[in-house]
Assembly symmetry: C2
Homo-oligomer: 658 residues x 2
Amino acid sequence: MPRTVSDGGEELAGDDISSRTGSRRRADNTHDGYKVGFPPKKGAFAEFSDGVKETFFSDDPLRPFKDQPKSKKLWLGLQHVFPILDWGRHYTFGKFKGDLIAGMTIASLCIPQDIGYAKLAGLLPQYGLYSSFVPPLIYALMGSSRDIAIGPVAVVSLLLGTLLQQELDPVKDREEYTSLAFTATFFAGLTQFALGFFRLGFIIEFLSHAAIVGFMAGAAVTIALQQLKGFLGIAVFTKKSDIISVMKSVWGNVHHGWNWQTILIAASFLAFLLAAKYIAKKNKKLFWVSAIAPLISVIVSTLCVYLTRADKQGVAIVKHIDQGINPASFHRIFFSGPNLTKGFRIGVVAGMVALTEAIAIGRTFAAMKDYQIDGNKEMVALGTMNIVGSFTSCYVATGSFSRSAVNYMAGCRTAISNVVMAIVVMLTLLLITPLFKYTPNAILASIIINAVLGLIDFEAAYLLWKVDKMDFVACLGAFFGVIFASVEYGLLIAVAISLGKILLQVTRPRTALLGNLPRTTIYRNVEQYTEATKVPGVLIVRVDSAIYFTNSNYVKERILRWLRDEEEQQEEQKLSKTEFLIVELSPVTDIDTSGIHALEELLKALEKRKIQLVLANPGPIVIQKLRAAKFTDLIGDDKIFLSVGEAVKMVAPKHENA
Amino acid sequence: MPRTVSDGGEELAGDDISSRTGSRRRADNTHDGYKVGFPPKKGAFAEFSDGVKETFFSDDPLRPFKDQPKSKKLWLGLQHVFPILDWGRHYTFGKFKGDLIAGMTIASLCIPQDIGYAKLAGLLPQYGLYSSFVPPLIYALMGSSRDIAIGPVAVVSLLLGTLLQQELDPVKDREEYTSLAFTATFFAGLTQFALGFFRLGFIIEFLSHAAIVGFMAGAAVTIALQQLKGFLGIAVFTKKSDIISVMKSVWGNVHHGWNWQTILIAASFLAFLLAAKYIAKKNKKLFWVSAIAPLISVIVSTLCVYLTRADKQGVAIVKHIDQGINPASFHRIFFSGPNLTKGFRIGVVAGMVALTEAIAIGRTFAAMKDYQIDGNKEMVALGTMNIVGSFTSCYVATGSFSRSAVNYMAGCRTAISNVVMAIVVMLTLLLITPLFKYTPNAILASIIINAVLGLIDFEAAYLLWKVDKMDFVACLGAFFGVIFASVEYGLLIAVAISLGKILLQVTRPRTALLGNLPRTTIYRNVEQYTEATKVPGVLIVRVDSAIYFTNSNYVKERILRWLRDEEEQQEEQKLSKTEFLIVELSPVTDIDTSGIHALEELLKALEKRKIQLVLANPGPIVIQKLRAAKFTDLIGDDKIFLSVGEAVKMVAPKHENA
């Protein structure tokens, strides 16, 4: 295959390096018409700003603003902050029909859940309802997900409750406890807002999928166990959430603490709920059966208790929910004193967990309906919603997985379904809260148990086991951390495992020995391609990662170990000695000073062994940095090739296939 | 080029996947005789143990033990722990001559430094000398570096002093302070030992080169500024180490706190030391001039003060150093009480920093003389040395950069030079400490200033600037952190920057658009190779990193952005629409469940756009995981190709060069 020097080649031949190394390079290094490309050098500022742009503005949010008149820019900016201005203009009655039905459905689902979740957070039941009124309205204005259902969720409620109860007693210090909850909600919102505003949203990506699966399942088990109090009608129950304390509480009360009437109610309605769920699962069209089952359970069980006066038999009931919509709570937030610090700490943790859940939901449904979600923008919306919520007696709200799924299946079209839900909740607060008086706590326990069971994702765990054993171990770690210690400890384990995995991955990158696929110029991993054969006298190693300070020593020593292994084999089989070591740099996307230093040490070590170092296909950044550090002068420009095939052709021209 | 189905191909065609997808696959996917290799599946245990082995035993330390008789194994094991048993057998008089001269030279250098460094750590001068006696002896038995010079060093002394003085006053609580120093030393040793023993040595790799350069330079400046107390003869000096406090102390004392006699001595000898260093730098053979200059300075200045009785003029002198070798100090270590926790915390930090320095030195000189250093083994040696040291009144010792360089240049051959140095220090302790009585503190200040200036590595900083602007910023951050806040704060910044860089690197991997190099089947980054041309109707994107939970969303969205950019261009230029998206997976060494999920979402998004997804060259682990997760079934085995070239040939057969 004859090749000629291309235009690009000519252009590059005139640069400072080639003129320094003179004609030798031009002759040697333009093999086959191409040499390793050397992209035009950027200035220090351009380099820096490119890095910043790719990190923080990788989604190029300013693209639509480009080349627009000022008034248009303003309008676009407003639309950016309030997406409703955009999609609201195309809103139709057809869409509204979908949103109305979906909104009613999720409202029927959320009302009993809200009351139960508020208890989980250690708050009075009305706060759960408050949190399903204001936040969904704000979200409808600012959010860009069309399917998410906003409100209190089980895991965040549990986490908030656990953290708050470490500081205060929810019964004895009821007022202060509630105020601290608002403070935490304020800072949760602020955290979410700040992450989005400063485009640091990628921070939540550091929680690995495996860790989340384990954490969620652990939290679900913990929440379900907590519900045994209401389910079994136990009056004195442990405040700890670990499985051992809970089991002690449960079995310690078995003889005189359990209430059979309560258990009867709880068990029969749980059976009903599970049956409804089973039906919905078997026939997707009947999803509404499981969606309205909780509300039906509440109505029927409340009636039962009212008619039989079972509350006099020891069946615990809700008793009282404040009537009326959210009171203002701005004055209750602690902006000074020790409670400020506590609220801040709790808020940051709860805000991050809430964010993780909401973004995951938003992305899942966006992918299903194929629209884009801007993570950072979502965070600003969620943050604003929680900040406003904290001023109006709400605690941390976020996207609920189960309710969002119902919302989606009920045919929601836009965030208006959240508005419908909020209106229904408002009417409930204004008109019918007194009717909840006789609702048994047991039914709330059943509803919550039924809801959280959906958070245990066996399929995902099985997939983890099949795909990556280490990930599965991480998942188990987070799971057992939550159920045997506490939800925050489990979260800590989840974060530690995730970070540990990242760090491990960058210290121990993979390397591979390459061989030639017979009758081609392709070189591939000999472990993957059994047909790949080694080139006599040439060892080809591919480094499968950027070479950074974290792995530069490992990479150097691993390459030398490949060489040592090879030399041992050669001695045994009396083969010709290695004369060239080709390092395939295609996957090496970047290198830092430590990496260059490691290459220099490798070069030195090879020189002592009389082996020549050859580099194949360095990328644009790598070649730039190698030149900046003068490593190219050290190794010689004629030792840097476009591909492994070209390199082999030059160093071992006798090799039959090269 | 005619190709036939290879043996390996036939073998693979029989596996479960191909039988499921039937004959279609066999016909389509064996293009050019090769299909994507599918390595034999490993069991769960093998997979796990391979991971562990590569992480913790990447250097394969047990290799020499393989297939040896038991007695030989025992002997090899002993040699492994005490390398002196190995190299000691080949020790010759010729080597001893080199070691003797080098040992004497570094002894002359270390004695005055030790006294000064002990002060930096807030300890009495003899503890510096103690630390240059026992630890080098232990190291000589267990260490594997031939060039390192063991003893107290400036940065660790400063760090230890700063941390200890946060807990106790070095003058008022002298006894308790010293005991806490031994406790910290014990735990520093234990940390080092444990890291090495459990093969966690890679942890120190997480401190980036850039951060170390900045940290070291900052520490050097801080130490030099601290020496202004002795240099200017100021009696009342700040205890803080930041530049602002120190400068206030210096200028606040300018009118009545400075002592001109002290300044005269300090300045003239500093000039002498710098001149000696300059000579040594100009002529490498005269390195001994700078090596013995400190000792000469001490002798001459001591004589001067003794003869002129300048101490009566306000020139501060050493006054007293305990005579005799190290007293036992095991009983002084706090094994209980609050000082245990403090000592532990301080010890862990100081131990890690000491380790970083020693390993860096060991590796540098090992590379120069081309021998191997086993990092984990070194850590065990250094740890044992400090544990024994803490029992014998030593504080944290490690490898000194300046003394190791002198050791190397003076022609040391083995660790025996450390033994020689230790013996000289012992004789000093036994015989001549009284002679140091009149040594002016000013001369120690000059010696330390002269020594630490070498820690400021302008060249390295300049290289960082040239190679990577972000690294340079990290370096500056650590530097300013140390000089404006404190040495521990600077260390924290250094660690945070290092970790931040790692995390950033895994969230924002690079992607590149590939084009065909005309007249070849090679596809390269179009930004690097201006001659690369796009294939009409086909978009080729390369992902330059493993696809993990940290970056899976980014990767998916970045690929879609490439597509959007391309489509915009096509509209403008009225080109044919993209029909195929080839994702080149060569650099993708691994993928996790989040990554597979992202690929599924990508597939879905492309299907809506009527674009087919094609994968090129997945590695062994990636193809295994894609199969385990059934993604290969989803995309179709006939959409996975050996290389981009093959893929283009199949999807765009009309393209002229493919």
